[in-house]
């Protein structure tokens, strides 16, 4: 009996990890396409792709990072902040995400100061 339960749990875990890998793979496709279009200046399309990517795989830090950059480019600072924070939460050791976030914060704070004046 114990053996059967073990086999069943293992099978479930394997299925879950395969599904997750599949999600990541699909999300990665979206992210890569987003990068291509962003490099050609099509930021709206890139924004859509990265949104899709994080919808498919909400644990994909790179997707959140790119989405944050797209929001920043559109001047949507609050959404950009949330996306950066999500990316950092998922991959706190990634220096590139932190660097992007620091640069964003500088501009965001400047904008806030202006608004407060």
């Amino acid at each position: 009996m114990q053996r059967r339960v073990f086999v069943l749990v293992s099978a479930l875990l394997l299925t879950a990890s395969v599904a997750q890998a599949d999600d990541r793979s699909k999300a990665k496709e979206q992210v890569e396409f987003g990068i291509k279009v962003a490099q050609n200046g099509l930021w709206n399309e890139a924004l859509y792709r990265w949104k899709r990517a994080v919808e498919i795989d909400p644990t994909y830090a790179a997707g959140w990072n790119n989405l944050a950059i797209a929001f920043e480019h559109e001047g949507r600072f609050e959404e950009a902040k949330q996306a950066y924070e999500k990316a950092i939460q998922l991959d706190s050791k990634n220096l590139l995400i932190r660097q992007n976030y620091d640069l964003f914060k500088e501009i965001n704070e400047r904008t806030k100061r202006r608004g407060a004046r």
Partner: protein, 332 residues
């Protein structure tokens, strides 16, 4: 090959592999910064004039008006109205005189004997009314046919001719008053920020600005104060000095030296007024200074432009969206 070199090569290879697998792309981005003010309700902008003071080497009113207009023409979507800059200091001084006289009239009704005939009504004594409406004889300003084309002599609501704006009640009735040179009286000397306080009530005079706005088809009005003063300072300054060693090799070393320096301080305050209502929409103060070697003889006008160059982006960002260029790293 030592074990150390092998380790270094291996770590480099690993780093390249990791980088290759991770995949990152630096991308230039332009972050839009929203303007401080919503100017969507305006199609035109009138840089009316400034209360200016400080050095007499630069006509800060005229130069500021010219510079801001040229910047707005090229860097904003608003149509810039061309009109002679208003001598705001004179207008403010006249307003003060008129209001002062009006107060006197209220206190001493006998003085009204000399009041002009006809329309010398009580509305002329109301504070916050532009001088033109206070003076029956003052020529009525004709609205410009096309406000954004050069006007030969725009007659702003405040006719800045002191003679024209001066009500008859102000004329000395008796001979015990010493004659005053009207030109000298009309040119108030503004030397420092405190001097502005005497005149800056004009910015709150909504009736005056509303009338001016009506003249120019309700534009956004830009006005304010500009103080451009000479400045001197002494202290230690770090400079780079070239040195040559015994082999003739050149190097640069930082040297701290005590120096007397002179320059200028520019302190503008930009006031943005709604030409439809005469109300202040926004105002902002700036301060910039520049110092040169005491021996260096830099013309005041050059310094003025150098300092204004630093301020102009901030001024423009009040009215129009600016973009901050930078780069970010996209990740795969």
């Amino acid at each position: 090959m030592s074990a150390r070199n092998v380790a270094a090569l291996a770590s480099l290879a690993l780093l390249l592999i990791v980088a290759g697998c991770t995949g990152f792309y630096e991308i230039p981005i332009e972050t839009p910064i929203q303007p401080k003010m919503d100017v969507s309700g305006f199609q035109r902008v009138l840089v009316a004039g400034f209360l200016s003071g400080g050095t007499e080497d630069v006509d800060a009113n005229l130069e500021t008006v010219r510079l801001l207009r040229s910047q707005l023409r090229s860097k904003s979507s608003l149509r810039v109205i061309e009109a002679d800059p208003l001598p705001l200091a004179e207008i403010a001084a006249d307003q003060q005189k008129t209001n002062g006289a009006a107060e006197q009239i209220t206190l001493e009704p006998v003085a009204q004997v000399g009041a002009p005939n006809g329309s010398g009504n009580s509305s002329s004594t109301g504070s916050g009314t532009p001088p033109a409406t206070q003076t029956p004889e003052a020529p009525k300003p004709e609205p410009p046919q096309q406000a954004d084309t050069p006007q030969p002599q725009p007659q702003a609501p405040a006719t800045h001719n002191p003679e024209a704006t001066k009500p008859d009640t102000q004329k000395p009735a008796a001979t015990d008053h010493k004659p005053v040179d009207p030109k000298a009286a009309a040119e108030p000397k503004i030397r420092n920020e405190k001097d502005f306080q005497k005149y800056d009530k004009i910015f709150a005079d909504t009736a005056y600005w509303k009338k001016l706005g009506e003249e120019y088809q309700n534009p956004l009005i830009v006005t304010g104060t500009v103080l451009f003063t000479p400045h001197q300072a002494a202290g230690f300054v770090t400079t780079n000095r070239e040195v040559y060693d015994s082999f003739g090799r050149r190097s640069v070393i930082p040297v701290r030296t005590y120096m007397e320096r002179k320059g200028f301080i520019l302190q503008p305050k930009f006031v943005f007024i709604d030409g439809r209502t005469g109300a202040i929409l926004y105002s902002e103060n700036f301060r910039e200074e520049i110092l040169y070697n005491a021996q260096q003889n830099t013309p005041a006008l050059s310094s003025y432009f150098e300092l204004m160059d630093r301020l102009v982006p901030s001024f423009l960002s009040t009215l129009s969206a600016q973009k901050v260029r930078g780069s970010r790293v996209l990740l795969k």
